[in-house]
């Protein structure tokens, strides 16, 4: 196991900037190393938060799916929501978790499109909840890098 893996990758990113970049003989080579360092820094951030961010997205979407049922969505959409909710969150490796996350996100897109076609205060409220979720989703996955 790599202890404090986020910090380890971040150190490697810094090392590229401080020790490899200065030895580059061309502007293209220097830019390439700088981009690699930036990419490593993003990998470091994802390493730390990747599972948490995906689980939070799924948790919020499940709450939205539950609320949406009160508006009587069509059977096909109800089935899509139920299929996503039925997935167990036992395998937290990023690959399997990504598949479950994608299934929820796809069902969420379908639900959002349906909600936009509905009228009334309940539909409006749910539309706002979805947008709040999308805002939090975007913030959860943001990269804080100096570029």
């Amino acid at each position: 196991m790599i202890p404090q893996s986020q910090r380890a990758v971040s150190f490697l990113a810094q090392r590229l900037l401080t020790h490899v970049l200065p030895d580059q003989r061309t502007a293209f080579g220097a830019a390439d190393v700088a981009f690699l360092s930036l990419a490593f820094e993003m990998v470091a951030q994802d390493l730390e938060r990747g599972v948490h961010a995906r689980l939070e997205d799924i948790r919020e979407l499940r709450a939205i799916f539950g609320a949406a049922r009160r508006l009587g969505p069509p059977d096909s959409l109800v089935a899509r929501l139920a299929a996503a909710e039925a997935r167990e969150l036992t395998d937290l490796r990023l690959g399997p978790l990504d598949a479950v996350h994608a299934q929820h996100a796809a069902a969420g897109i379908e639900l959002h499109a349906w909600i936009e076609e509905q009228r009334g205060p309940e539909a409006e409220r749910l539309d706002r909840e979805i947008w709040q979720h999308l805002e939090r989703h975007a913030e959860r996955h943001r990269y804080d890098v100096n570029f």
């Binding site: 981009f35 796809a106 499109a113 975007a138």
Partner: protein
């Protein structure tokens, strides 16, 4: 096929010698950073005792933007012929794989300039912004029928401009997304529900008109508009909105392109183009600009994951810039938007 610099110079020299019927030497070849949609090189070409700096743009194995080199060259040529848009002189177009294995073009080099707007002295901002949006206004004012571009660029019906561009980029997202894109999909639906009216005129649209894609000198003179690979004919507001996207000014998102307040840039554009910008219509193009950019970043991530090239800039675009573009789109579209990245434009 990756070519070493020496091999590339030798092949290009042989090609130009045969093409022009004169012995040619190619030297001082250096690859230029950036230019993710094409491999870009600066070089010197010596022919008939004269040496000239040139820029070589060679199609890459994988690209941020999948466009036809001939389209870009035709747009460069049209802008150059117009005499009112500063562009490097287009010199050679090789459409086949030819001697370099992939299509390429050569343009004249414009020396002594920068593209990085962060290197511009603050006191020159007003001068550069006046030129930047005046040039765009002049481009918008050009008569598309007089540009001689029909062979390479489709001329859409005015009422089809917005829908055509939207559906093109929506299809890119549908095809290339490695994971569902709930924010971009919400934007596509909003754009479909709110299509703008036809523009009063068609224009040659640069397609990537932003800080970073024009050359300015130490005195703040804009000497050349670059990177016409997404050029097409369409609504002139498209370029204006693209030039305003907060991504191009990050993190100083309050100034368009790090240069000027947006309403000031609009005023400059209107004066040069003779067009009046309807801010409600313009909002559609601002959202479209963010969506188109998101589509390019989605495509970059796909290229990095599955394409032939593993250039790190493709990963950066697919990860970091898509993250920022998602935040911009939410900011533009959410009914609860706190307007962190985008202001709502209103004339006083």
């Amino acid at each position: 096929m990756t070519l070493a610099i020496e091999e590339l110079a030798e092949r290009l020299a042989r090609y130009l010698s045969e093409r022009d019927g004169a012995p040619t030497q190619v030297g001082e070849v250096a690859r230029i950073p950036g230019g993710a949609s094409r491999e870009t090189y600066r070089l010197k070409v010596t022919q008939r005792a004269a040496t000239r700096g040139m820029i070589l743009r060679r199609d890459p194995e994988s690209s941020l933007i999948d466009t036809d080199r001939a389209t870009e060259f035709a747009a460069y040529a049209a802008a150059f012929r117009s005499g009112v848009i500063p562009v490097p002189e287009p010199l050679v177009l090789e459409r086949t794989g030819g001697p370099l294995g992939r299509p390429f073009s050569l343009t004249a080099e414009i020396c002594g300039c920068e593209t990085n707007i962060q290197l511009l002295r603050p006191e020159l901002r007003a001068k550069v912004s006046a030129q930047k949006w005046s040039i765009l206004g002049r481009l918008a004012a050009l008569d598309v029928d007089a540009l001689g571009i029909r062979a390479e660029l489709a001329i859409p019906a005015r009422e089809d401009c917005a829908r055509r561009e939207l559906e093109y980029w929506a299809a890119v997202i549908a095809k290339d997304a490695l994971q569902p894109q709930p924010i971009a999909e919400a934007a596509v639906r909003w754009l479909r529900r709110n299509l703008p009216p036809a523009p009063s005129k068609l224009a040659l649209v640069h397609g990537d008109y932003r800080s970073g894609n024009f050359l300015f000198d130490a005195d703040g003179e804009i000497r050349g508009v670059l990177d016409w690979e997404m050029a097409h004919v369409g609504d002139p507001l498209e370029d204006l909105a693209w030039s305003f996207d907060p991504l191009w000014a990050w993190p100083d998102v309050q100034l368009a392109g790090r240069l000027a307040p947006r309403l000031e840039a609009i005023r400059i554009f209107e004066a040069a183009s003779g067009l009046k910008v309807d801010l409600d219509v313009f909002r559609w193009w601002e959202v479209f600009a963010a969506l188109k950019a998101a589509a390019i970043w989605v495509s970059s991530a796909e290229d990095f994951a599955h394409g032939a090239s593993k250039e790190p800039i493709l990963a950066i675009a697919g990860w970091m810039t898509l993250d920022r573009q998602n935040r911009i789109l939410v900011d533009r579209l959410s009914p609860l938007s706190r307007r962190v990245y985008t202001e709502r434009l209103e004339r006083k």
